[in-house]
Symmetry: C2
Subunit: 329 residues, 2 copies
């Protein structure tokens, strides 16, 4: 089941806001629908929004061809898609890459975008196996790992980055259990990672986000595996809010803190974490759960969607091509 | 408004599970009702459950006198109250202290328990002023502070420990804003601390628990103030799960991590944090919010209610009598 796909000239995506209750596919037939799906996290996860953004540009090119609008219209649409979410660099990277084919014609744009679907799957398989190989030599299996948010097949086209490593380890019988941070405010861990681990038959338990560091300190976790939205040139990592405290706890407990991210998430043009734009989302996400208020009427909230983990806390960044080893553990 | 009080021979408590939606007082007229109120967190917060436990013993003594049951029945009831929750030492401390008066008769037991109500208020006022004095000399006001869970008037009889310091600072015009960790799973921050800060007219914003460390790293927080359920002899602190990551972040950011706790929370008989029993609560608390499921059907969860912050991460423990800086006491 692909989280993002291209069918008959439009996008077909899983609406991840409805999971785990409902697995519904939604067709995206306009650029505005693509942007809306990315903004409201119907499609989410750095690799997945990269592919969705690329397919959005393909859609823009097709629609422009049908309506007779020129390449400038496509470029304007591409700029709007590119700006839909600021933190994950994959979105800008994928939009730019596909848009560069515009002079070669609409078919070239569509081909480049569609090629990203298969490329993402291949990338994640390679990354998962590489990460599993690396971890198995560093920590004696079977492993209890902790993950945060969702870096699974839903965050990519399929297979997953951090959960791709879990999948590869599980196929080798090397996973005891996965602890899953629920990932407030939008509960991607409790909703999506739990859904994927259940489908993989991997034993798991959900924990509140505040509990991870204490469990790491108690010695019950062998490694933390997370995805990334952007890795700066100096190795600082932007990922879902709540990642940084896990890295702090890993460093103190001397266990590996492993970031799984395709090469397209590595951003040589951003010097460091302080230069990565952190998306601030609607306070209402914090003040409600599934539509129910959690706080007094009139309460205010602050809702940064990401945090920065400094490079010195990162044991390894695993990509499809290499393992960049950082701080020893 | 007192969270716990003694009226006409029974307990009168605020049912904190209903806040902020409803401020309802509940009468507790049997020992089982007292135990149930403590277990389901209708009464919560280390000082408050200490006072409730003491009043529970008074209730047991009165009921035993009325029914003709002997002192052994009171001791059995006291043992059950004492075991209602394991982590906060105040409960055992208060029960033991009141029970020691049993040989002097029922009136002596009731007097000792009722005296704890006023003593708790006095203790917290002194603690709040001492903590505010200490902080004002360490960090240039006005301050943005971050707190977790609820260490306010609801966690005590009134006034509060960590929020007592906030209250004292606010009265001096020394608070810019309080950031409040929502405190999953039971949202004591979003529900109770927000309710109290609103009533005090202190500006505040709620954040998800994963966000605190990243905000500390970004330099927007001047100090973290939390309560405690037990401070071990070596200075390790047990407090609501999610406290430890804040302490890790404070140490890295070189800002004060301040624990506000009455002397009764300091437990010389527990050598270190590893010796403090950590309450494991019902996984259903993690898997639901306000009764709505957050995870797939059949999902498992792990629900430790507290974590341990090692003494070397604690800048100061503020009590009603002293400020214990850095070193173990």
């Amino acid at each position: 089941v692909r989280s993002v796909d291209w069918v008959d000239g439009h996008l077909l995506v899983i609406d991840q806001t409805l999971l785990p209750g409902e697995l519904r596919h939604v067709e995206l037939r306009t650029v505005d629908e693509v942007i809306d799906a990315i903004k409201r996290l119907a499609v989410r996860g750095a690799p997945a929004i990269g592919v969705a953004g690329a397919l959005g540009v393909a859609l823009a090119a097709l629609l422009a061809e049908q309506s007779g609008a020129g390449p400038d219209a496509v470029r304007r649409d591409a700029a709007r898609i590119r700006a839909a979410r600021p933190t994950a660099v994959n979105l800008a990277w994928a939009v730019d890459r596909v848009l560069a084919r515009l002079d070669a014609g609409t078919a070239a744009v569509v081909d480049a975008a569609v090629a990203m679907i298969e490329a993402d799957i291949d990338t994640n398989r390679a990354l998962g196996i590489r990460g599993a190989d690396w971890l198995e030599t560093r920590v004696r299996p079977p492993l209890t790992v902790l993950t945060h948010c969702n870096a699974g097949g839903l965050a990519c086209v399929e297979w997953g980055t951090a959960l791709g490593i879990v999948r590869a380890l599980h196929e080798r019988g090397a996973i005891t259990e996965v602890l899953v941070g629920e990932t407030r405010p939008l509960l991607q861990g409790a909703r999506l990672t739990a859904f994927e681990l259940g489908a993989m038959d991997v034993p798991y338990r959900i924990v509140v986000d505040g509990a991870g560091p204490g469990l790491i300190a108690r010695g019950v976790v062998d490694a933390v595996l997370v995805g990334a939205d952007r890795v700066a040139a100096n190795g600082d990592v932007a990922n879902k809010v709540g990642t940084y405290p896990l890295a702090l706890a890993c460093a103190r407990a001397r266990i590996p803190f492993v970031v799984a991210a395709p090469e397209s998430t590595l951003d040589a043009s951003t010097p460091d974490g302080a230069s990565i734009p952190i998306e601030e989302r609607d306070p209402a996400e914090v003040l409600t759960v599934a539509g129910s208020p959690t706080a007094p009427a009139g309460a205010q909230a602050c809702n940064p969607a990401f945090d920065i983990t400094p490079a010195d806390l990162v044991t390894a960044v695993v990509t499809e091509a290499r393992v960049i080893e950082g701080a020893p553990f």
